[in-house]
């Protein structure tokens, strides 16, 4: 089966930065695989996600996502990728209901036609129910806890029917119980969609433990790689 993500010797720099944020990254993600990316702050973890999604142009190398070369103009491609950015937190005065936040994920599926349809409402309700937040649908998203907002974004990813999940620190700043909760929901979303996932995390936990492979990034390069079997066999020694 073809890889859903393929980065070959990718170099990338944020505008205004003197040094390359990615200094030659090569990695791939197989279909239905969960790849974890770890590393210290500033290592380039988030940059890898942005390059995969075409949100940041590359200076050199090649990036192919879901079989297509990625550019800044890959709008259609991004409709198949569910990206949950780091530190996305809706402040209390955010004038959006949970249901509407999930609804915004459907736009790429249906184009610029009328705002709502019965079928779209059904899909949204199904996503909310699968994540277990049906009762929050009519609540203002800014009034939810951090864990509830993360669940909203996972419901959004599910509603988007994405083939690839890009999750940047999805369990950051959550208590241990919420971390377990979100990790289980990530697994559920992947199962429902049959999607691959790339998860960035700088802390150990259930999300990393559930990943098929882990790559460590430092100073814009991949410095180590471990597979789930290696981690299990190492821990059993």
């Amino acid at each position: 089966m073809d890889d859903v993500v393929s980065l070959i010797d990718v170099r990338a720099t944020y505008e205004g930065e003197r040094h390359a944020t990615l200094a030659g990254v090569t990695l791939s993600v197989a279909a239905t695989e969960q790849l974890a990316i770890t590393g210290p702050n500033g290592a380039g973890k988030t940059t890898i996600l942005e390059v995969i999604n075409g949100l940041l142009p590359i200076a050199s190398g090649t990036v192919r996502t879901l079989g297509q070369e990625v550019t800044l103009a890959s709008h259609r491609l991004r409709t198949q990728i569910a990206y949950v950015p780091q530190n996305l937190f809706f402040p209390p005065d955010t004038p959006f209901l949970v249901r509407d936040v999930v609804f915004t994920a459907r736009f790429g599926k249906t184009g610029t036609r009328r705002l709502s349809s019965a079928e779209e409402r059904r899909r949204i309700n199904r996503s909310l129910k699968a994540i277990g937040i049906s009762d929050l649908g009519g609540r203002p998203v800014g009034r939810l806890s951090g864990g509830q907002q993360r669940k909203t974004l996972l419901a959004r990813a599910l509603a988007q029917e994405a083939k690839l999940l890009l999750l940047d620190e999805p369990t950051a700043n959550l208590d241990p119980e919420a971390k377990e909760d979100v990790s289980a929901l990530v697994a559920l979303v992947r199962r429902e969609l049959g999607a691959a996932a790339v998860v960035v995390s700088h802390e150990t936990g259930p999300l990393l433990d559930a990943s098929d492979r882990t790559v460590a990034v430092d100073s814009g390069r991949v410095v180590a790689e471990t597979r789930l079997g290696d981690r299990v066999s190492t821990s059993s020694r």
């Binding site: 198949q80 996305l88 955010t94 004038p95 959006f96 915004t104 736009f107 610029t112 800014g142 009034r143």
Partner: protein
């Protein structure tokens, strides 16, 4: 009505209603996306453009107002796209520039253009609006509805979070510039009602007031135009009753709507985790 014939009252009421609704509707985007400084810059650019039209006398000032507002949007748009902080600095520089240009153009206008023409640019003169000008407003209103239908979903996603919208496949740059030019055109055609100095009030205050009443953006979009119409019509009646400049009266009513909404907002009465 107020001793005025219906051929004056009707276009005045229609003009006020349309401008109040349109400015407040786009004001919802401006307030939510924190583009107030851009709105400010465009309103004063429109004023300078209209003053140029007054000076050259061969063209309806509304077209030069639109031209200047659109040029300002085109110039500031890329800056706003890259960094909001830089926009405030640039707008701070453009405001005295556009005001100075506007006053110079008025000063240089033929004597026939000075007086009611110049004053109407500054303070508004919806009483002088003709049915022909109302038809222009209707055209812009219909075009605005068309744009909102065509780009409604993109705008909706943009209003939630721009990065999330872009990551989901929305062409946020296209949506942003469509919105910007729409604001520019609406500001320019609305000059006649409140004047260049106070059009900003009609764009920002009713929309800001609407956000005080709802956590649901869809409701905000319904409430904002209603508050804009309320402020416009109230200002019109106030100006007739108290013999005040109409633009200033509308701005006063906009302020009353805003502060009243803040004081009465149901959000103030809820706990930290309201329903």
């Amino acid at each position: 009505m107020f001793g005025l014939p219906w051929h004056i009252v009707l276009p005045t009421l229609l003009g006020s209603l349309l401008v109040g609704a349109m400015c407040s509707a786009v004001g919802t985007f401006v307030v939510r996306m924190k583009l107030s400084s851009l709105g400010f810059a465009m309103s004063h650019a429109a004023f300078a453009g209209a003053a140029l039209g007054l000076m050259v006398s061969v063209i309806d000032p509304i077209w030069t107002a639109i031209l200047f507002a659109v040029l300002m949007a085109a110039a500031l748009g890329p800056i706003a796209d890259l960094s909001r902080l830089q926009v405030d600095t640039v707008v701070g520089a453009t405001f005295p520039l556009t005001m100075a240009l506007g006053l110079i153009f008025i000063n240089k206008a033929p004597s026939a253009g000075i007086g009611s023409g110049a004053l109407s640019l500054l303070w508004g003169s919806v009483l002088g609006i003709t049915m022909g000008q109302v038809y222009v407003l209707v055209g812009v209103f219909v075009a605005t509805l068309g744009v909102l239908v065509l780009f409604g979903r993109d705008f909706f996603a943009l209003l939630l979070d721009r990065k999330l919208a872009r990551a989901s496949g929305v062409n946020t740059a296209r949506a942003f510039y469509v919105l910007l030019f729409l604001v520019a055109i609406i500001v320019a055609v609305s000059l006649r009602v409140t004047g260049g100095l106070l059009i900003y009030a009609l764009m920002i205050l009713p929309a800001s007031a609407a956000f005080q009443w709802a956590y649901d953006i869809k409701k905000v979009f319904l409430i904002a135009p209603l508050l804009g119409i309320l402020a416009s019509l109230s200002g019109f009646l106030l100006s007739l009753w108290a013999d005040l400049p109409i633009g200033a009266s509308i701005a006063l009513c906009c302020a009353a709507v805003f502060f009243g909404s803040v004081a009465l907002s149901p959000k103030r009465r809820r706990g930290s985790r309201g329903s």
